[in-house]
């Protein structure tokens, strides 16, 4: 499939194609215009991704199938124990939610509706090593949307940036493009959390020097900007440094999430999703 008739590659053709590429790059910034292109491209590329993922998936399920019965029994017992603990904790949740709603009603403010979570499987495909992303085996068919929060068992690990028909790309919080608005659980101090590459802590920006913050403070998503829902644990402060030459404090946050160690992640489906902005964009710098 050629744009130009057969013939030698000329500088003109090069220029045309380069300009086309730059145009695409400019469109790519605006998710609403690029949505269709991303979907079309993902439809063509997802067979390759699923094909590369298939052997790894089979080897995983095969190794599960040949596990010794002893191992499976002990795993089973452990799962039952954890499930019981979680169910016990959950019993309190209903009461607390009700009380929360009643308190909000007293102050005449709108209570936050709780969110659903949906599990999604990671595809075993690599992306570039200098960007922290991974690919999910769920896409628009499963109602995944751009900007959706991705969690693992311990906390927030990222957000969805590109949605195809049956795959999506997730940007991890440790990637340098990621920016998550957070607030301190202790005193409501707000800031923006950016990533600095894998295996390094996240950095909290825009914290004034006068702010009261100490090592061990918990940070949760603040929900500012209407893109990231509020209340999900992100990390804990690991280092606070105050340099006279800087305008703001330098704060490092150790994320809760164990990035890329699991195969399953959770996607948050806010109950108030329909009311959310239709033109959702991922929160990036």
């Amino acid at each position: 499939m050629e744009l130009f008739k057969r013939g030698p590659a000329t500088g003109t053709r090069l220029m045309v194609l380069v300009v086309l590429g730059l145009l695409l790059m400019a469109i790519d910034r605006h998710e609403q215009h690029a949505k269709f292109i991303h979907k079309a491209l993902s439809v063509m590329m997802s067979p390759i991704q699923y094909a590369v993922d298939a052997p790894f998936r089979w080897s995983r399920s095969f190794s599960q199938r040949v596990s010794s019965q002893q191992h499976l029994l002990s795993e089973n017992t452990e799962f039952r124990r954890q499930l019981l603990l979680l169910q016990g904790q959950n019993q309190q949740l209903a009461t607390l939610t009700k009380e929360n709603q009643q308190l909000h009603a007293l102050f005449k403010s709108k209570a936050k509706l709780s969110d659903d979570v949906v599990a999604a499987r990671l595809l075993s495909v690599a992306t570039t090593p200098y960007m922290q992303q991974f690919t999910l085996a769920k896409g628009e068919h499963d109602k995944v949307f751009v900007g959706q929060v991705v969690l693992d068992a311990n906390g927030v690990i990222g957000q969805v940036t590109r949605v195809g028909l049956n795959t999506s790309q997730v940007l991890l919080a440790t990637d340098s493009r990621s920016a998550i608005p957070v607030e301190s659980l202790r005193n409501g101090l707000r800031g923006v959390l950016i990533g600095r590459g894998s295996n390094t802590s996240l950095r909290l920006l825009y914290v004034p020097k006068s702010a009261e913050i100490s090592v061990g403070d918990e940070f949760i998503t603040s929900g500012l900007g209407q893109r990231f829902p509020r209340g999900y644990p992100v990390g804990v402060v690991s280092n606070v440094s105050d340099r006279p030459s800087e305008h703001f404090k330098t704060i490092d946050i150790k994320p809760h999430g164990k990035f890329l160690q699991n195969n399953l992640v959770l996607l948050v489906v806010p109950k108030a999703h329909k009311k959310m902005s239709k033109h959702a964009k991922p929160t990036t710098k």
């Binding site: 590369v52 790894f56 690599a126």
Partner: protein
Amino acid sequence: MLSQQQNNYTVLRYSSLLFAIVLTILPLPDSLEWCRPCWVPLTFLYWLIVHPHMFGLTTIWLVGIALDTLLGTRLGEHAIALLVVCFITIKVHRDVASMDYWRQLLSIGALLLLYQCLIFAFQVFFRQYNPAWFFWLPALTSMVIWSALMVTIRYMYTPRMGVY
């Protein structure tokens, strides 16, 4: 205008491209991630040096967009980088193909370094860059792969084969 040999190569060249794409997204253990050779540009260079009409610029551009989709980079980054490097290769293919072992290896290394430079430039432009030295490792490992492939190039390029 395609010669008979090039028509016969159709299945081979497209399947080699597909294989290169698969190798590009194959998950590797963390320690080896940075050492992955630039399979797709390597494949293009391999074919274009002997048969510069093997791939049209549009095909190269489309493969670049496909790479961008798979790797999650901004659409157009790999497309433009591939275009520039393949264009240069097409223009100098005769010189490179007739070079001796070391010179050819270095030329390929330089071309792939240029490829990485362009990608790096885009990353810096969009303030997403990772300033680690091992960003440039793929060009080196690609050279290693090339030295293995060079034998076949010599074989394809000798005039008595009727290619040129």
